[in-house]
């Protein structure tokens, strides 16, 4: 379930490290950080607005999940890179056992099932499913994001890896238009 962290082939274009208690002290940090990262990476894009809008939406969903599911200590390290036209976000942070299980369950479930069907099912069970926990399903369903878990750089840390081909998403949108 947790993979070896050996897949890093390209250095991150942007790396942000912040104090986890500081991050979870203010909900708006999810928005600020997602915007900052997306804006920083969009500088090299053909349609910077569309790219940043899509990427910040995805990163925000990831950060909102982390906001609720972390150990409340240590650091949150976010590394954003591009590997073969795939945008990769690596989020490393400390978790307790229950949150580790939650991430493992989400990643395993998404790998084994159709993300769109899963998301639709969860979306209409809002009374029994916390909306805070469907963010990761949403990005897998709507944007084709692929999620994996890797061991963190130190014991007690996990690294949530989100791979997304935004160019494909944007191309599809443009073709539909």
């Amino acid at each position: 379930m947790i993979q070896k962290a050996d897949s890093v082939t390209t250095p991150p274009a942007i790396r942000v490290c912040c104090d986890m208690p500081g991050f979870i002290a203010d909900w708006r940090r999810c928005d600020h950080l997602s915007n900052f990262l997306a804006e920083a990476l969009n500088l090299i894009k053909a349609d910077p607005f569309a790219f940043a809008n899509m990427l910040s939406t995805v990163i925000n969903e990831v950060l909102e999940t982390i906001f609720y599911h972390n150990a409340g200590r240590g650091s949150l390290t976010l590394a954003l890179s591009e590997e073969d036209a795939v945008t990769v976000l690596r989020a490393e942070f400390a978790v307790d056992d229950s949150d580790r299980s939650l991430y493992e369950r989400i990643v395993t479930t998404l790998a084994a099932h159709d993300p769109v069907a899963l998301y639709e099912q969860l979306l209409f069970q809002v009374s029994s499913v916390d909306t805070r926990d469907i963010c990761l399903y949403e990005i897998a369903a709507d944007y084709g994001a692929r999620l994996t878990l890797e061991n963190g750089s130190q014991p007690g840390l996990i690294c949530l890896v989100v791979r997304i081909s935004l160019n494909n998403c944007l191309k599809t949108e443009a073709e539909n238009n």
């Binding site: 909900w27 999810c30 928005d31 053909a46 349609d47 910077p48 607005f49 569309a50 809008n53 899509m54 910040s56 939406t57 925000n60 969903e61 909102e64 769109v116 998301y119 639709e120 979306l123 209409f124 809002v126 909306t131 805070r132 469907i134 963010c135 949403e138 369903a141 709507d142 944007y143 998403c169 944007l170 949108e173 443009a174 539909n176 238009n177």
Partner: protein
């Protein structure tokens, strides 16, 4: 009207307007929004519009609040139809809403409004239109560059070029007027791709080309010193909607600058009558696509009604004496090809009609290329100041 930072309900139009970045922390933080939405859902009759044209971002708790309202409508208001209106300029929107709508049933729909908003839009967004734009841009710029300072364009300005097409004007401004920045916006992806390619190739780094809808620009209020919109209001059937946006993004004291034609008044000698007939007819064919190529003289009226002050209008006449004849002829031939191959054929015109159109265009080409001939294309330039 009920209001929330991100939600407004317009009772008269039965429209819930969602805008901005709506990222509540949890379900409890959507309480006020839910009240507004529930009140709207229970009070309207027939059709409820949910306008998401400017909804930049939304998170799961917000989306869930919206979904709860939709589910409530499905269960309790079978008489009600719901139409969610999204913009193609917001890349995530249509897909995210469509997933939900597919599960809710036939009373719910998603519409990408800027896809069908303008009847003639498809024609000008086609890649085949690029050569027409390219040749026109070249000959207009030679005259236009001289009048721009009179309309307030000076160095170090923040310039917007709305409906920028292939970006020729934006690039020329970047080259000749040393702007701080130039942002071009257009709704035609092929034209934007071309514009970005050229800007990159020519190392024009102060330029940015953005996909967007001119009637709902995702640009901040009061951001630009000089807002240009050229040969564009005339091809939309609701020019006032675009003009309102041009004024909004212009800073107080800045100027909104427009150019538009009186296409039916293209003229030439000899064969003046054949030329006049052809352009009258061609203008009518564009009119059938809800394009008003006679918009030039109407600009002052529209600008005044949009609240602009100190409005200046002047002719920007292209003639065979101030324009390279061969270039002018190329432009006329591109008009001819478009008028006959697209407009006349789509309008079901017969071959005799097309032949007569051809003769007029051919006569116009002769008038601008022959050493004794004289021909022209009347365009009008106008600008107005946004009051402080």
């Amino acid at each position: 009207m009920s209001a929330h930072p991100h939600i407004t309900f317009d009772e008269q139009r039965q429209e819930l307007i969602l805008a901005g970045t709506w990222l509540p922390r949890d379900s409890a933080a959507t309480f006020t929004a839910r009240n507004i939405m529930n009140s709207a859902a229970s009070s309207v009759r027939g059709m409820l519009y949910i306008n998401c044209k400017r909804l930049l971002r939304i998170n799961s708790p917000a989306f869930s609040a919206l979904l709860d309202m939709l589910c409530w409508i499905e269960e309790n208001r079978s008489d009600l139809h719901v139409k969610i209106i999204v913009s193609s300029a917001i890349p995530w929107a249509e897909k995210r809403f469509r997933v939900v709508i597919q599960m809710l049933g036939k009373n719910f729909s998603v519409e990408q409004y800027d896809k069908q908003f303008y009847p003639g839009q498809a024609a000008v967004e086609d890649a085949s239109f690029i050569p027409v734009l390219q040749t026109q841009a070249k000959i207009i710029w030679e005259q236009e560059r001289h009048i721009l300072p009179r309309h307030g364009l000076t160095p170090q300005m923040k310039v917007a070029d709305i409906c920028c097409g292939i970006g020729s004007f934006a690039m020329q401004v970047a080259r000749h007027f040393a702007p701080k920045t130039v942002v071009g916006v257009d709704h035609a992806q092929p034209a934007l791709a071309y514009a970005r390619h050229l800007a990159h190739e020519f190392c024009l780094s102060s330029l940015e080309f953005i996909y967007g809808d001119a009637t709902n620009l995702l640009l901040a209020d009061n951001r630009f010193d000089f807002v240009a919109c050229r040969l564009a209001l005339q091809i939309f059937d609701k020019p006032e909607n675009i003009l309102r946006e041009l004024v909004r993004i212009c800073r107080p004291g800045g100027r909104v600058y427009l150019i538009n034609e009186t296409y039916s008044r293209c003229f030439g000698y000899p064969s003046a009558e054949a030329i006049a007939w052809t352009y009258q007819e061609a203008s009518g064919l564009y009119g059938a696509l809800s394009m008003d190529l006679e918009f030039g003289p109407k600009m002052r009226c529209y600008m005044t009604e949009a609240g602009l002050k100190n409005i200046q209008v002047e002719p920007l006449m292209l003639t065979s004496c101030n324009t390279n004849g061969a270039d002018f002829a190329d432009v006329i031939r591109s008009w001819e090809a478009y008028a006959i191959n697209q407009l006349a054929k789509n309008a079901g015109k017969d071959e005799a009609y097309c032949q007569r159109l051809r003769e007029g265009f051919a006569a116009h080409v002769r008038s601008v290329t022959h050493e004794k001939g004289f021909g022209g294309w009347p365009i009008w330039a106008a600008s107005g100041c946004k009051p402080g």
